[in-house]
């Protein structure tokens, strides 16, 4: 660590070297300044994409139930969407244990808010903002919560949908997705989403996204839940699977037309 830090020319923090070098330099400096070793860890059990969208009456969110241990599909019944308070719904991809820790933080937050007993309650905007600060604070300590979170909700007729990443990057949009969903689901959503989606059309659109992910994301599994939040509260569906079709001739004999030496 010391060696790396002292190797960098003193006045080149900005502009000259690449981002990764700069990060390393800053990283080394921090560990020297604070006299602590780096705290960054890596994830053990992870969940893959979450996809969510606004529809006519609220928010719809989908996530599969796989929990991967590296590339091993270790758990097959992980609930990755949970209601938060009265007006919010949280979905998570990334480290499952970190997600459960976040749920504990939120439970306490909602409980203490409830104890004021003043008839006020935290809405999705407040919960999202809280999560934003928690994630950013942990990245500042070089000990991130290894998740991408999606927060949806409805309060006072206002729909809300936002997301936060591991390092605190956050935004709102009409539809959001995490991880692979950013590559595979959002193009579909950008093409087909509109303000007045009915519940049925919203579910159909989410299922279309989840099917694309199932075919192309190796850590996705065919067991998913769809959650809905409206002014009336949260409903999370029972786990179910999507219909798939694998009988294409190219799937049956993938080596045909690509003859190798073996």
């Amino acid at each position: 660590m010391n060696f790396m830090a002292s190797k960098q020319p003193e006045n080149s923090l900005l502009g000259l070297e690449s981002d990764s070098q700069r990060t390393l330099y800053v990283t080394c400096l921090i560990s020297i300044e604070l006299g602590s070793s780096l705290d960054v860890r890596y994830p053990y059990v992870t969940g893959t994409s979450v996809v969510a969208l606004k529809y006519k009456d609220g928010i719809l969110m989908a996530a599969d139930m796989g929990g991967s241990y590296g590339s091993t599909l270790r758990y097959k019944s992980v609930e990755r969407m949970k209601p938060i308070g009265k007006h919010s719904l949280l979905g998570a991809s990334g480290e499952i244990s970190d997600f459960q820790e976040i749920l504990r933080y939120l439970d306490e937050l909602i409980l203490y808010d409830n104890m004021w007993d003043d008839g006020n309650s935290l809405g999705p905007k407040e919960v999202h903002n809280y999560l934003t600060r928690v994630m950013y604070n942990r990245r500042n300590k070089f000990n991130p919560l290894w998740n991408s979170l999606v927060l949806g909700g409805v309060k006072n007729g206002q729909k809300y949908l936002g997301t936060v990443s591991m390092i605190g990057v956050n935004f709102e949009d009409n539809h959001v997705a995490t991880g692979f969903g950013n590559h595979l689901a959002r193009p579909v959503l950008r093409q087909e989403w509109h303000e007045n989606l009915s519940f049925e059309d919203g579910v159909r659109l989410l299922e279309k996204c989840m099917r694309v992910l199932l075919y192309r994301d190796r850590s996705a599994v065919n067991k998913l839940q769809i959650a809905k939040i409206t002014e009336d509260g949260v409903t999370i569906s029972q786990p179910y699977s999507l219909k798939t079709y694998w009988e294409f001739s190219a799937f049956e004999n993938p080596a045909q037309g690509a003859i190798g030496s073996w």
Partner: protein, 223 residues
């Protein structure tokens, strides 16, 4: 278990370009609304412009989470200022505060590239331009962010600011009328979004003059 994640970094570059132009009695501050990471567009409608005081506006690109933290910090500092002095902070004062705030984190910097624009105490337009660790300079116009390499030389060519070495010191404000400055800003963003993949979707323009603050929008390339 083998490590599959790429090395963790506390930073990201979410792209975007910012421009500010000062005139005799106005200031134009503009930024696009695209937010990206790598080759992904995260959202097409994220405002990079933040109103810090009545006559002071900041546009920032770089790492969104740091930018948000910086904006919140400055908003809190400005609230304290109002309680202590019962007035709005002036633009040059905010400029110094921003510099100090950035330098305070010199060894774990806010990865944010800012331009600050507004009116000074005489009602004249002013622009301040920064690097991530707080070096700053008062100028007549400036550009920061991913498209700044395309925009800045174009502004130099069109506006030809007087050399800061001239004696007696020359005024840095541009000779343009307000409407001309807005047109110029629209042109530079339309051009930057042709070549810079991190600039696009929509342009947000904030105009500050004696009447107050006005906002307008223009569509940019979405590809």
């Amino acid at each position: 278990m083998p490590k599959e994640q790429a090395n963790w970094s506390p930073y990201d570059n979410n792209g975007g370009s910012c421009v500010a132009v000062a005139g005799a009695d106005y200031c134009v501050i503009a930024a696009d609304t695209r937010m990206s990471t790598g080759y992904n567009i995260l959202t097409r409608d994220y405002s990079k412009i933040c109103k810090l005081a009545d006559k002071c506006v900041m546009a920032s690109s770089g790492f969104q989470a740091d930018v948000k933290a910086l904006q919140k910090h400055l908003a809190a500092r400005h609230l304290i200022y109002q309680h202590q002095h019962n007035k709005q902070m002036s633009c040059p004062a905010m400029a110094q505060l921003l510099s100090n705030t950035l330098y305070y984190k010199r060894f774990f910097p806010y990865y944010s590239f800012n331009v600050l624009g507004g009116l000074d105490n005489e009602g004249k337009g002013c622009v301040f331009t920064y690097d991530a660790v707080g070096s700053y300079e008062k100028v007549g116009y400036s550009s920061q962010g991913s498209g700044s390499t395309l925009i800045m030389p174009f502004l130099d060519n069109q506006l030809k600011s007087p050399s800061p070495l001239l004696l007696p010191a020359q005024d840095a404000v541009t000779p343009l009328a307000e409407a001309e400055a807005i047109d110029l800003v629209k042109t530079v963003f339309a051009s930057a979004s042709e070549r810079d993949i991190y600039t696009g979707d929509k342009l947000e323009i904030v105009v500050i003059n004696a009447d107050g603050i006005r906002r307008e929008y223009m569509d940019l390339r979405k590809d």
